[in-house]
């Protein structure tokens, strides 16, 4: 097992290197350079050239890439010019907020999605199945930012049950209940689509398993229905559900970008959008690499979990 994990970790290295190259090239190729973004209305050719020299952007592309990569390997992500502070400080601070939001949201969508899928499958074509399928379709079809705005309008502006935005109350907040109150809407909005997808796939995975001979055998032996579903069927179905969770984790992470903007959540997604608009190259590059690394790492976890569940997967 240890060797399998090590192998997977080593195979992640070229993936991450590839990501650094892609994000670096994208930032180098998009039009509108950082000097113009900094100078704004006051950008003249002379000032742009001066500033590019100060920022080290007058050097050849390849040299810039290796300087950046080398610095990053020593833990130096550079300094964000739009925020005037080290990129790594900003990312770590922001990432915390994103992890809370995406983590809670991911747990919500996994639990609810699998539960809904199992119920649907157990009650195929029954009322519960139809109700869940209907709800799931709505969940998948409504764009999350729209759902977010509607939730704000209804629960925060009209009913005033929940705060509109932010992570903590400005005054008298900062504790766990405060965080939860701020978290309910963004986490739900973010989880909606993924819940739907997971529910649908869990349902079909369960149905597939429930048709197997050994389930019939189990039932024939007189095993209780609860045990058949939860013990026999779900365990087998999990093998095909878990990779879906891995993929959905990526969607939740990227979906956080919209949700963080709508709910003013101080996370990495909102940071990236602002950084891209301001051409804050180092912040964008550092942020993307960080997010990508998390995604890669999470997928290794998923693979390991899967290999534990399914002995057929060679380790």
């Amino acid at each position: 097992m240890g060797r399998y994990i090590l192998k997977r970790l080593i195979s992640a290295i070229p993936v991450l290197l590839g990501i650094t190259i892609i994000v670096f090239l994208i930032m180098a190729m998009i039009p509108g350079d950082p000097a113009i973004a900094i100078l704004g209305g006051y950008a003249t050719a002379d000032r742009i050239a001066d500033l590019n020299r100060d920022l080290g952007l007058d050097q050849p592309l390849v040299a810039r890439y290796f300087i950046w990569l080398g610095n990053m390997l020593t833990g130096d992500f550079g300094r964000s010019f739009s925020l005037n502070r080290p990129v790594l400080d900003e990312i770590l601070e922001r990432f915390n907020a994103t992890l809370i939001l995406a983590g809670v949201s991911f747990m919500m969508c996994s639990l609810l999605g699998i539960l809904a899928g199992v119920v649907s499958a157990a009650r195929q074509y029954g009322f519960a199945d139809k109700a869940i399928t209907f709800a799931v379709l709505i969940g998948i079809s409504v764009p999350s930012f729209f759902l977010g705005m509607m939730m704000i309008l209804f629960f925060a502006v009209n009913l005033r049950w929940l705060p509109v935005s932010g992570m903590y109350a400005i005054y008298g907040g900062g504790d766990l209940p405060d965080l939860i109150r701020h978290l309910i809407m963004p986490a739900t909005a973010l989880a909606a689509v993924a819940t739907g997808v997971i529910a649908r796939l869990s349902r079909s995975a369960m149905l597939e398993v429930l048709r197997q001979d050994y389930i019939r055998t189990a039932r024939a032996k007189g095993v209780g229905e609860r045990r058949v579903i939860m013990g026999h069927a779900l365990r087998a179905a999990m093998v095909s559900i878990i990779p879906v969770l891995g993929i959905q984790a990526g969607f939740v992470l990227s979906g956080a970008v919209y949700i963080e903007i709508v709910f003013q959540w101080p996370g990495v997604g909102r940071m990236l959008v602002t950084a891209i608009l301001q051409r804050d190259i180092l912040l964008v590059q550092g942020g993307v690499v960080f997010v990508a690394a998390c995604y890669v790492f999470f997928n290794i976890l998923v693979d390991v979990a899967q290999s534990l569940l399914d002995p057929r997967i060679k380790t």
Binding site: P31, A43, V262, P266
Partner: protein
């Protein structure tokens, strides 16, 4: 089969109880506390160091924490003494001597004196100053003509300029001229932007990244103490969310209300505040080639565009129709006799046929959004339709803001005939001097991207910049406006009215023509 017994009845019961629980358990959220003003800002500030920031968003915080030698007289763009009690200008206009206010201290307890003033300007202008490096700072050119700052005595400081430069005083009143405590700079170095210390009515408390900047009443303030105990600036980048926070009572004041959201704030619970500022939204026309090389075609474009409809329908009344290159907010320099080009499509058609070009083809650069650009896509589309109605054949090319500036600032030659643009300035000198002179063509390092050139305008602008008498300057600017309007190097479209909404618990608030947010007198109940 009793597993997951989900029936219609249980579903209904669950739904009803959730709803009931929600209604019972949660009273309306607490309102914002008394005496604390919570302001919804449009973005996270970059820094709170006046020698590092360029954005109006950051200035809104700065001007409440720091003060300058002079300031804009409330409600105007005229300069009056502030930390200085008065000043004298030498005959030749190159020496400015300021007498400083006695007994003023910075928030960190150190005294404000001539040495502090010198420290600040040396830091900004002298490369060899130990604290010079504040990151890329394009506004240092505001004081580019200052060659020396001397301490005459403790309460007297003298600036020597390389040449007479009339906008010097209004640049001093701008946030770039705010004075920071030298002790704070020495203590925090480059991080003074996160640990600001000034002389203003509010002192800095904390900055929670991406959540809030908190400032509180300065108990030792030399003037009238501030009307609120504290002010909290919250960055809320999404305009819809900012509106929702305002409606839900999470903030007491928001700036830059989107025009289409203004109707939400009609009731008694809110107050909408407006103030025209030194802003101009215009179209740069390419005079070097293509149809707009011809003055009649340029005038035709000015006649063809229905500016009233743009400001009233597209911008929902959040702007006025512009008459010329100088915004009316510069009351002392504005030419009241100037009337905007009327909307007259027939006259535009007549001009086109006189010029022998009934269907000129025009490439039009539009941006998706940017500083001061208001609603550029909708405005661009309306303009395209108006021009098409008189015979122009306009094709729009849309760019993201930074890309747009990268295309427009180096000049329109070979690329486009017309481009949107907007400027907010602090002196009537700035925009025409940087964007209308022959020496301001892009190849000379200016912003005259349409290559307008009129020696008479050049001479007027040079003289206005060096004249130290304000009446004389005003006269020169008024003449310039008449000529430029007639030459029509631009289509003059709109002057933005900055707006803000406050809740009914906020009193004594008004917006300033400078677009700065002065909160000293505001009371929050």
């Amino acid at each position: 089969m009793t597993l997951f017994h989900l029936t219609r009845r249980t579903l209904l019961a669950a739904a009803t109880s959730t709803l009931a629980l929600g209604t019972l358990a949660t009273p309306a959220l607490a309102q914002t506390p008394e005496g604390v003003l919570i302001v919804g800002q449009i973005a996270e500030p970059k820094s709170l160091d006046p020698a590092a920031v360029t954005a109006v968003n950051d200035f809104r915080i700065l001007v409440n924490v720091y003060e300058g030698l002079v300031r804009y007289k409330p409600g105007t763009l005229e300069v009056e003494p502030h930390l200085a009690t008065g000043w004298e200008v030498s005959e030749d206009g190159t020496e400015y001597t300021f007498s400083l206010r006695d007994g003023v201290t910075f928030h960190d307890g150190t005294p404000f004196d001539a040495a502090a003033v010198k420290f600040n300007f040396d830091r900004m202008l002298d490369d060899s100053h130990p604290f010079h490096d504040t990151g890329p700072f394009p506004l240092a050119f505001f004081f580019g003509s200052v060659v020396a700052t001397e301490v005459v005595d403790d309460l007297t400081v003298r600036f020597t300029l390389s040449e007479p430069y009339a906008p010097f005083l209004s640049n001093l009143a701008y946030p770039t001229g705010l004075i920071v405590s030298p002790a704070a700079i020495e203590q925090h170095g480059g991080d003074v932007g996160r640990n600001p210390s000034g002389t203003g009515p509010f002192s800095f408390v904390e900055w929670r990244s991406n959540e809030a900047v908190v400032i509180e009443r300065n108990a030792d303030y030399w003037g009238e103490p501030a009307g609120t105990e504290a002010v909290v600036f919250r960055p809320i980048t999404d305009a819809n969310t900012r509106v929702a926070e305002m409606l839900a009572g999470g903030i007491d004041m928001m700036v830059e209300v989107p025009p289409n959201a203004l109707s939400e704030f009609q009731g008694d619970d809110f107050r909408v505040v407006e103030q025209a500022g030194p802003h101009l939204w215009f179209l740069i026309l390419n005079l070097r080639e293509g149809p707009f090389a011809n003055q009649q075609i340029r005038q035709a474009a000015n006649y063809a565009i229905n500016k009233e409809a743009i400001v009233n329908d597209v911008l929902e009344g959040t702007a006025d129709v512009a008459a010329g290159p100088t915004p009316p907010a510069f009351a002392w320099a504005y030419n009241e006799e100037l009337d905007p080009y009327p909307y007259d499509p027939d006259h535009a058609r007549a001009l086109l046929s006189e010029a022998g070009m009934e269907n000129p083809e025009v490439t039009f650069y539009v941006t998706e959004g940017g500083s001061g650009m208001l609603d550029p896509v909708a405005m661009g589309t309306a303009i395209q339709a108006d021009l098409a109605a008189v015979g122009f054949d306009v094709s729009i090319e849309t760019y993201e803001w930074n890309t747009f500036l990268g295309e427009v600032n180096p000049g329109l030659e070979g690329k486009a005939d017309m481009a949107e643009m907007a400027w907010m300035t602090n002196d009537p000198d700035t925009l025409p001097y940087l964007a209308l002179r022959t020496d301001a063509w892009p190849e000379a390092g200016g912003f005259n991207s349409g290559y307008y050139s009129n020696p008479e305008v050049d001479a007027l602008l040079e003289e206005a910049r060096t004249a130290t008498d304000q009446d004389r300057r005003a006269e020169l600017y008024r003449q310039m406006q008449v000529i430029v309007q007639e030459d029509a190097p631009w289509v003059f479209v709109a002057n933005w009215k900055q707006n803000a909404v406050t809740s009914d618990r906020v009193e004594n608030f008004s917006l300033e023509p400078s677009f700065l947010l002065m909160l000293q007198d505001v009371v929050k109940n």
